[in-house]
């Protein structure tokens, strides 16, 4: 029991690509931590990165991460804080190379090692996998991937903690992965520190819950916190979560002293429920965690103890995140003012639809919302009152070919002079036409992915 009483601190520094750029700096400078995990990926993110890589083969990862490391690399090396991130997106090698360059600029050459994890990218193997009978059926619709094969732009397996653990064993100070499971960025270091094996299911499940609490940054420490939100202190300097984990998996969620936000039973519970499916069966590559086993003790002083967590053995499958081209879309907005703001917006929408119809344009979908009235609560908002001070008309279209969407974007501005009155808010120009990269979740046997994972640790 040499680990008795030992605690490993894993701090969260980014909850998504675009999160508070100063948060990881505060985590490193604000007090003792052992690991900094930075989560940059979401279902939508992989598609965006894929679009960027299609335009520029050197892109396709979170560039924010590289400029961040240029700032904090020396402090991390000095304090022994090891960084684990999935910033690599669809181009982890490009990310790791840029990181090494940033490390040299930051003056850590010869003192730091970068670990690169590759092999989650299945794109080059896709046809042989399909040929071998892996149908990669859509997890919701059941459709086989061959239906959209020629439109597939990227395919990445959600990989587990094993390559992260290996990179840590090889002495990596910073580890860059592609589509690592978000939670593995937290429980990977714990498996390494405490020597948890794959059959230590309760401990790993606890690490998964810790990872789930970490993976959305301040969303567990007072950010986007619905309960008594008006009382959350100092959100301007909100502290991101830190999990202090023991060898048995039980942990405390906290944040640095003096930082803003709060850690309470309620703030942690809200995050636990975020993006939750069946709570008894939270599937990750390394374990199935049972979220109905979670026990929370609010110890006060921004400390919530989390314990009692149980898990079950992992499945033989990994989830695959596939992005495919699915047409084009655009959204246009105009603002209508009192009196009769909503009636004017609706009239403008009718005029717009009639013009699009006369032009012979056909869309797979066209959607009208009144921002300020029904865009979040739909029909539950009821009929808008006549004295609404203002409302924003928001119209979106989606189609297979770009041309009709493009033409739609040219039909918004004319409404300012040719439609109902009291309209403004067009300073932003024509709506942008966006290519849709749709998400296709599927399962694949882990045995066809894991032998291809490569861990490469190099001195900066």
């Amino acid at each position: 029991m040499s680990d008795n009483g030992r605690v490993v601190r894993v701090a969260s520094g980014q909850g998504f690509w675009g999160d508070d750029l100063e948060a990881p700096v505060r985590q490193v400078e604000g007090g003792p931590i052992d690991y900094l995990m930075l989560d940059y990926l979401a279902e939508v993110t992989m598609s965006i990165m894929q679009k960027q890589r299609a335009r520029d083969p050197n892109a396709g990862y979170a560039r924010d991460f590289v400029s961040l490391m240029q700032r904090i690399f020396p402090a991390c090396i000095k304090q022994g804080v090891r960084v684990v991130t999935n910033a690599g997106g669809v181009n982890p090698r490009g990310c790791a190379e840029a990181l090494a360059e940033a490390g040299r600029t930051a003056g850590v050459a010869g003192r730091a090692k970068v670990g690169l994890v590759t092999g989650d990218d299945l794109m080059d193997r896709l046809d042989s996998l399909l040929g071998e009978g892996h149908e990669l059926r859509h997890m919701e619709t059941g459709a086989p991937l061959c239906e959209v094969r020629e439109r597939v732009q990227s395919a990445n397996a959600y990989i587990g903690a094993a390559p992260i653990v290996r990179a840590l064993e090889f002495g990596a100070d910073v580890i860059v992965t592609g589509r690592s499971t978000d939670t593995a960025l937290t429980y990977g270091p714990l498996m390494h520190e405490f020597g948890w094996a794959v059959d230590d299911v309760d401990q790993i499940a606890a690490g998964v819950v810790a990872g789930h609490i970490n993976e959305c940054g301040a969303q567990s420490t007072g950010g986007n916190c619905m309960i008594d939100w008006w009382q959350v202190p100092d959100l301007a300097a909100v502290g991101f979560p830190i999990v202090e984990v023991g060898a048995d998996g039980a942990f405390v969620v906290t944040k640095h002293h003096g930082s803003g936000g709060w850690v309470t039973r309620a703030s942690v519970t809200e995050q636990i429920l975020y993006e939750m499916g069946d709570p008894t069966t939270y599937i990750t590559p390394d374990v199935i965690a049972d979220f109905t086993s979670i026990q929370l003790d609010d110890q006060g002083d921004d400390r919530v103890r989390v314990h009692g967590i149980t898990g079950r053995a992992r499945t033989d499958f990994l989830k695959v995140s596939i992005a495919y081209s699915a047409g084009w879309k655009a959204t246009g907005t105009l603002t209508y003012s009192w009196p009769d703001a909503a009636a004017k917006a609706k009239a403008a929408d009718r005029v717009l639809r009639e013009r699009l119809d006369r032009l012979g344009l056909r869309f797979d979908e066209m959607r009208t919302e009144l921002v300020g009235w029904d865009s979040t609560h739909g029909a539950l908002a009821g009929e808008p009152p006549a004295d609404l001070p203002e409302v924003q008309l928001r119209v979106g279209v989606r189609a297979d070919e770009r041309a009709s969407v493009e033409r739609f974007t040219r039909e918004i501005a004319p409404l300012v002079l040719t439609g109902p009155p009291s309209v403004t808010g067009f300073a932003g120009g024509r709506p942008r036409v966006q290519e849709i990269m749709a998400y296709w979740p599927a399962l694949i046997e882990r045995s066809v992915v894991e032998p291809h994972l490569v861990v490469d640790v190099k001195e900066v």
Partner: protein, 131 residues
């Protein structure tokens, strides 16, 4: 018995998985968890959302957290990048559920009055924090 809006009894958090929105409902007071269980059936939640949810509604119980989790299938206009909705990722979908009215004993209705809404004197007041 009295009818109160859910906003006074529970707080919520929502997110997305593809075209499915999840709505987590957490009782402010864990003693009210059983009320949530009996009042917020999957059928009632499905009926509340009406045409906003095209597919099924599933309900899961987390008594350990005093919470329910609902999966609303076909709620996000295709989801993620496909959706034309302002709230394409269902970030605030859960707040639409806070409008639903549930039946509670009169003393509960009195006890929860005003809970879940910002007091008129706003940030100046520091009311009790849920432990």
């Amino acid at each position: 018995m009295a009818r109160v809006q859910l906003v006074h009894v529970a707080h919520t958090r929502s997110g997305d998985k593809g075209d499915t929105a999840n709505v987590g409902v957490i009782a402010y007071d864990s003693e009210h968890y059983d009320l949530l269980c009996s009042q917020l059936t999957a059928d009632r939640v499905k009926a509340h959302f009406g045409s906003m949810v095209r597919g099924d509604v599933e309900r899961f119980e987390l008594p350990n957290l005093g919470a329910l989790n609902f999966l609303l299938h076909g709620a996000l206009g295709g989801g993620g990048t496909m959706s034309l909705m302002n709230d394409a990722q269902g970030k605030v979908f859960s707040t639409a559920l806070l409008r639903i009215e549930i039946e509670v004993p009169d003393e509960v209705a009195r006890a929860v009055q005003g809970r879940g809404r910002m007091p008129a004197d706003g940030a100046m007041r520091r009311s009790e924090r849920t432990p």
